[in-house]
Each structure stands twice: as C-alpha cells, then as structure tokens.
C-alpha cells in the first residue's frame, strides 16, 4: 500500500522526500560504478563506513551472503580473478594486449541499469528499504572476434542506514532471474542454468554464508512479502541481511508470511 504520511510535520515530510531521492541516487550510482568495473570504489563511496556497521554489512546473491565489509571486498577480489581469466585469452594471443590490470574488461561489456524504484524510509528516519528492477547486458568477448552476449534480468533489495547525515548501503541482495543470450531462443535455456550457461551464475563467488536466497525456478513467489512496505524501525527479519526472511519458505518464517 502507498505510504500514508500522516505522522509527520511538513519539515519532516520534506526531509523524507529528499531521503528517498538520495537513496535512489545511491542505488543508481552503484549501477554506474558496477558498469564501470569500479566495485571497490562502489564500496568505499556508497557502503557503510562506521565501525558499528562494518561487521554486519552484507552483500547477497542467489546462493548466499558475504557478511562483513571485508568479505564483500573479498568478493571484489573474486570478481577481479574472473576478469583476469577473461583477459588471458586476449593477452595469450595478441601481443599488444598486456595481461595487466589496465586491460581488465577488454572485449567485455557489463551494463547494469536500475528502474522501477520502491523506497520506504522507516518512520523513525534511521533506516530505509529499497527494491529496484535490474535490467542489464553482459558480454564476454574472445580474440577470435566472437562474443557471448546476454540480456540480464533481476532485482535488487537493499537496506540503507543513516551515518551522520549520509545514507549508506548496509545490506544488499542482487537477485538474479535470467541471462538470456542475444540472438538465441530463450526456450533453449535449461530451467536452472548453471555457470556454463549463465555468466552471472559464474560470478556468484563463494559466499561467507551459503543459503538459498532465491531459486530462479519459482521466481517471485515471495516477492509480495519481501518487497519494501511502510515500517516503523529496522527489524532484521524483514530486512535484507543474512538473518532475514529472504529465501525462507512460508513455514520457516516466524509468523508465516505476515509482517
């Protein structure tokens, strides 16, 4: 249900209006950092920085969570290894392309775009929740002039927390639905693509905590219960961190699917 706003003064309403714009700005800015392969800068610019939040920060994907900012940095390193592995065929066969950090991403393309934002700021003003749809493309080239190009589809769920007067990403989950190959019939995809069929699956890495956060087979079965709604204060069960209800079946959730 759309927010009711009956409990706020005009000044508070104006502050909350800008809170929502800032939060959208952060998640969109994240898209540009990711698309530019600037993942570490994404973390240092947009994610929590205060010591009290660093251990509880988390990044999730379909298969689990990286818990703690150090672990999220480790995931960045895992991703760099993938980029190096994609660079190697080029540097092995083309003299002019060095196997060097400066050439990471050569022959590739990785646009993540966000749309359809849904943001709720907690009534107490200290946290916020967001959902966006994430549509992208993803290309991995080869020195023989071919490329595997995909159109990618997913969602992003995120908790934000206020540090001073700045909003920061605290927990974020990249939910991945599909990577559909350009020029091919989507029906030829297996029902549960693995890493060999889907480059995003190949990039999941090794989470700190393994957990089925999202099963592409059943899609948005729990989306109505997991999407952000009006709320008073952060409760980790209804957030997007590793101890949340995300990924749990209805009979595993305290109180069922009520919030």
């Amino acid at each position: 249900m759309a927010e009711s706003n009956i409990n706020f003064t005009e000044s508070e309403l104006l502050e909350r209006v800008w809170d929502k714009e800032k939060i959208k700005d952060i998640i969109y800015r994240r898209s540009y950092f990711i698309s530019a392969n600037r993942r570490r800068e994404e973390l240092s610019n947009l994610w929590v920085g205060e010591p009290r939040h660093l251990k509880s920060a988390s990044y999730g994907n379909n298969i689990g969570y990286f818990v703690g900012i150090d672990e999220i940095h480790r995931h960045c390193a895992e991703y760099d290894e993938i980029l190096y592995s994609r660079l190697k065929p080029y540097s092995d066969t083309r003299q002019e392309i060095d196997y060097d950090k400066a050439n990471l991403g050569f022959g590739g393309m990785n646009i993540f775009s966000c749309n359809t934002p849904l943001v709720f700021v907690a009534e107490n003003g200290m946290t916020a929740k967001l959902l966006v749809a994430q549509y992208g493309n993803h290309a991995v080239g080869a020195p023989d002039g071919t490329s595997e190009v995909f159109m990618t589809f997913g969602l992003v769920f995120a908790d934000f927390v206020k540090e001073g007067n700045q909003w920061k990403i605290w927990h974020l989950i990249d939910v991945h639905d599909f990577s559909l190959p350009a020029g091919k019939d989507a029906l030829d995809l297996p029902l549960r693509p693995g890493a060999e069929d889907d480059p995003i699956v190949a990039e999941y890495g090794t989470p700190t905590v393994s957990k089925e956060v999202y099963d592409t087979m059943f899609g948005w079965e729990y989306l109505y219960f997991d999407m952000p709604k009006e709320y008073y204060a952060y409760d980790e069960r209804y957030g997007y961190g590793p101890n949340s209800n995300m990924g749990l079946k209805y009979f595993e959730r305290p109180g069922g699917t009520r919030q």
């Binding site: 714009e21 969109y28 898209s31 540009y32 698309s35 050439n103 080239g141 002039g145 190009v149």
Partner: protein
C-alpha cells in the same frame, strides 16, 4: 547534491528542479515515439548559440548544427513514410503526407537509472541516464528492429524559469539487430525495389567529427559509462558534457 544546512525554500527549489529535468527527459522519449523531432529541438533545447549534441562519431556544435540534426531526422521519417505508402498502398495510398508522417518505424528510447545534480547556484544542472531502447530502421529490405543500449548525459540550463538542454551526449554501446548476437554481421535480407531510395539518404554528419565512443565489439577496450555528475556550486566549477576545450570544427 549537498543539502546539509540548506533552507526549506532551497530544498524545494532543488527538488522541483530535478523533477522538472526528469520530466524533460521523459518528454524527449515521448517525442521520439511520436516522431516530433523538431519539437525536441524547439521545445526542449536551450536557445543559446553554444548548444552541442555529441554522438558516437562527433559533435553537432552550435544551434544550427543541432537543429540540422533534428531536421535530418524529420526528413528521414518523412521519406520512410512516403516509401511505406508505396509499399502498402491498400492502406496508405489515400492519405496525405502529413497524415502518414511517422508511419513505418517505431523508436522507443526509454531512459532510466538517472543521476541528477543541480548546481548550488540553481542556474544549471547535470544528468546521466541509461538508454535501454529498441527501434526500427528502414533498410532496403524493409524495416529491421534493433536493440539500443547507451547513455544520455546532459548539462541543463534554466531559461525564463524553465529547464532546457544545453549540452547532450547521446552515446550508444549497442545498436544490434534483434535476433542476432549483436556482433556478427546479420545475414543479408532480400532487398525490395520500393525501398531503394533509402540507400541514398544520410543524416547530416557531425560538424566536429571525432570518435567519442565505439560501439561494443569483442575487440573494444573496456569502455566505462560516461562520467557521473558530482555535486557542484556553479558551472565553472564542474566538467562539461559539451564539446571539449580545444576541439574545434577543424578537429
């Protein structure tokens, strides 16, 4: 935007500015669908002489060049409609040129993922969007659909209380034929004599030819998105999405 310790009046002005800019870009998308290209220039662009439109192959620098680009799109679409009228006379032959203008192709340029910074002095603004589109082009074989992925990056200026485009970068990473892998040349389709005239039409070229961006290919160096806007006080203290200093019509 830096909003700490700002008055409520300032916060409202800044919020309304960024909403107006989002609306402006939404109207630009709409104008592409209904083929109102000349209205894009006359309605959405600044009246300044130093407006500038950058595309992959260079800049249309100055009002006359930018207007010429949109005039070119109008003329192209008028030609397409005329050819389609000849190709499908049973439906279109009784219609006037005005009635059929825009028939034949469709151009969706949805913009999303916006970053907008309004200057502290309130006189200018900057924005960056992802373009995730699809359009059809008339080829000698008939209309063919393309996926289009790219970026719009713009400087805006306030004129007579309204926000207008001052400099615009319209840069593509992908203009790939739908139903292909985007990098292999699509197979030739059988040409039709009725569409022969489309071969002779070319949009006006940029008057400052310079490679601003390559389309994606497996041999392209990694090419990040255009630079993100950052908070700024006045335009002199930020970078421009317009033609770079030193780049002239002589290249």
């Amino acid at each position: 935007m830096e909003l700490a310790n700002k008055s409520e009046e300032y916060l409202l002005d800044a919020w309304e500015a960024q909403r107006a800019i989002k609306n402006l870009m939404g109207k630009m998308s709409y104008n592409y669908i209904v083929k109102k290209f000349q209205e894009i220039f006359s309605g959405l662009w600044s009246s300044r002489a130093d407006v500038c439109l950058g595309v992959n192959d260079g800049y249309y620098n100055g009002a006359s060049a930018v207007a010429g680009y949109y005039d070119g799109l109008y003329e192209l679409n008028a030609l397409i409609s005329k050819l389609m009228q000849k190709a499908i006379p049973s439906v279109l032959e009784d219609k006037t040129a005005d009635e059929i203008y825009g028939t034949g192709t469709m151009d969706y340029k949805p913009v999303e993922c916006e970053l907008i910074e309004v200057a502290q002095d309130g006189g200018t603004a900057k924005g960056l969007w992802v373009l995730r589109g699809s359009h059809s082009q008339l080829t000698p074989a008939g209309p063919v659909g393309y996926w289009e992925w790219g970026w719009f990056a713009a400087d805006f200026i306030k004129e007579d209380g309204k926000w207008k485009i001052w400099h615009l970068l319209y840069l593509d990473d992908v203009c790939g034929v739908c139903g292909t892998d985007w990098v292999t040349a699509p197979k030739d389709l059988p040409e039709m004599e009725v569409f022969e005239p489309i071969k002779g039409y070319k949009l006006p070229e940029p008057n400052v030819p310079v490679k601003l961006r390559e389309l994606y290919s497996p041999m392209r160096c990694f090419t990040p998105p255009p630079r993100m806007p950052e908070p700024y006080e006045s335009f002199s203290q930020t970078f421009s999405y317009g033609i770079a200093e030193g780049e002239t019509e002589n290249g």
